[in-house]
């Protein structure tokens, strides 16, 4: 599985990428929507886009609209990962074509739960096994 993480904060890109890598993803990242489109234009085909909202140059909502208007990228799953958490904003993002929405702050579990909902967990944890509740990144934190 491949994911593209788009966030203007380097720290946040590292955190989200770290969680996804821990789950078995191959990850690339970009600092704003325009850079994200450039990565897609190269022909790299991610299964998942994790997109922040407020970014310079091109914000997350513009990016989502751009991706949704290109039939070549129709199959990609879009998950907003942002501190924008007004009810109306979430509705707007879903209407623009995002599938899921993770509100910052989030834990590694939140990302994993959402990917499970989307059927995008690379290694499905077998039923019946108590799930390790943290990604490897956070194992020390209980």
């Amino acid at each position: 599985m491949r994911a593209l993480v788009i966030d203007d904060s380097r720290a946040m890109r590292r955190i989200v990428s770290g969680i996804l890598i821990g789950l078995g993803y191959e990850v690339r990242d970009a600092g704003h929507g325009r850079e994200g489109l450039d990565v897609l234009d190269e022909g790299w085909k991610p299964h998942l886009l994790c997109v922040d909202w407020n970014m310079p140059v091109m914000d997350g909502l513009q990016f989502v609209s751009a991706v949704r208007s290109n039939p070549a990228w129709r199959s990609v799953t879009i998950m907003m990962v942002t501190s924008e958490s007004e009810h109306t904003q979430i509705v707007r993002a879903l209407a623009a074509g995002a599938h899921e929405y993770v509100i910052k702050p989030f834990t590694a579990d939140a990302i994993r739960d959402k990917l499970a909902l989307l059927g995008l967990l690379p290694e499905e944890v077998p039923a019946g096994v108590p799930v390790p509740l943290r990604s490897s990144e956070q194992e020390v934190a209980l």
Partner: protein
């Protein structure tokens, strides 16, 4: 008095055994912070005394409370999604055809914690049925008064709604209330929450068409498991459905149930004549 090494090791072993979560050494202060409210509630001055009390007199309820206090992650929405998929794919259609159009469906979420399970059920049924509010009644019970109150309030923190609640369901069924999210009045009307100790004689309830009794039996010994299953069965309709946790089964515990495989999950139905 701060937590002794023996007490910490005991808690560590317990939590690892019951939840497969490993508490790393150095997390003593976390154990203290999480268990202190429980100790105070029991009239004890510190966590070491709490651990001593529960060690000397093992008790399923207190054991469960300790494990829950240390495993906040137990409460995601659609936790192990399969029993919910089974509800809408198989159980609901079967019940709708077996029951009269005006018959109310009764569902019990036993050990409902802060309410994620009963509201998950409520959301699914509200999306599946045009008249869910009048058609379905969901009983949510938990041992803890605090959890029952939280379920009644139907308010969840930002971190809680992030845990496995699909975004379309969040915007459809919740509104923002300060920095929390509040479940719609419609769904709150479907859910009745009350205190209930599963290990004691149960109050008059039901009869239930569906019971979710997940990740509760694991905390009890065999005779208690058996009596809980018997009492639950007495509150169920003969053609009802019981869902247990993914790691739980009636097999080898109580042979008056029939296991039915639905997709990736299993349900248990009262055996006729058993």
């Amino acid at each position: 008095m701060s937590l002794t090494a023996t007490s910490f090791d005991w808690v560590r072993d317990l939590v690892r055994k019951e939840s497969a979560i490993v508490l790393q050494p150095g997390k003593e202060y976390l154990v203290e912070a999480r268990l202190l409210p429980m100790a105070r509630q029991m009239g004890l001055t510190d966590v070491t005394k709490l651990v001593e009390t529960v060690r000397v007199r093992p008790d399923a309820d207190n054991t469960r409370r300790i494990v829950e206090a240390l495993t906040t992650n137990e409460t995601s929405w659609f936790r192990d999604g399969d029993p919910f998929t089974a509800l809408t794919s198989t159980v609901l259609p079967s019940l709708l055809s077996a029951r009269g159009a005006n018959e109310r469906l009764q569902i019990w979420s036993a050990a409902s914690s802060s309410g994620q399970e009963p509201y998950t059920i409520a959301m699914l049924l509200d999306d599946a049925l045009p008249n869910a509010t009048s058609r379905v009644s969901i009983t949510a019970t938990d041992l803890s008064r605090e959890m029952v109150q939280r379920t009644r309030a139907g308010r969840f923190s930002q971190l809680e709604v992030n845990r496995g609640l699909p975004a379309p369901m969040l915007v459809r069924h919740f509104t923002r209330a300060g920095n929390e999210w509040e479940v719609s009045a419609n769904l709150r009307r479907m859910v009745n929450a009350s205190e209930c100790n599963l290990a004691a004689p149960l109050p008059r309830m039901g009869p239930f068409d569906v019971v979710y009794l997940r990740n509760v039996l694991i905390y009890f010994d065999l005779p208690t498991k058996q009596s809980i299953l018997r009492r639950v069965r007495d509150l169920m309709r003969p053609d009802g459905w019981l869902f247990l946790g993914a790691a739980e089964t009636t097999l080898g515990v109580d042979d008056s149930w029939e296991r039915v495989v639905i997709g990736r999950s299993s349900a248990y139905r009262p055996l006729k004549g058993a």
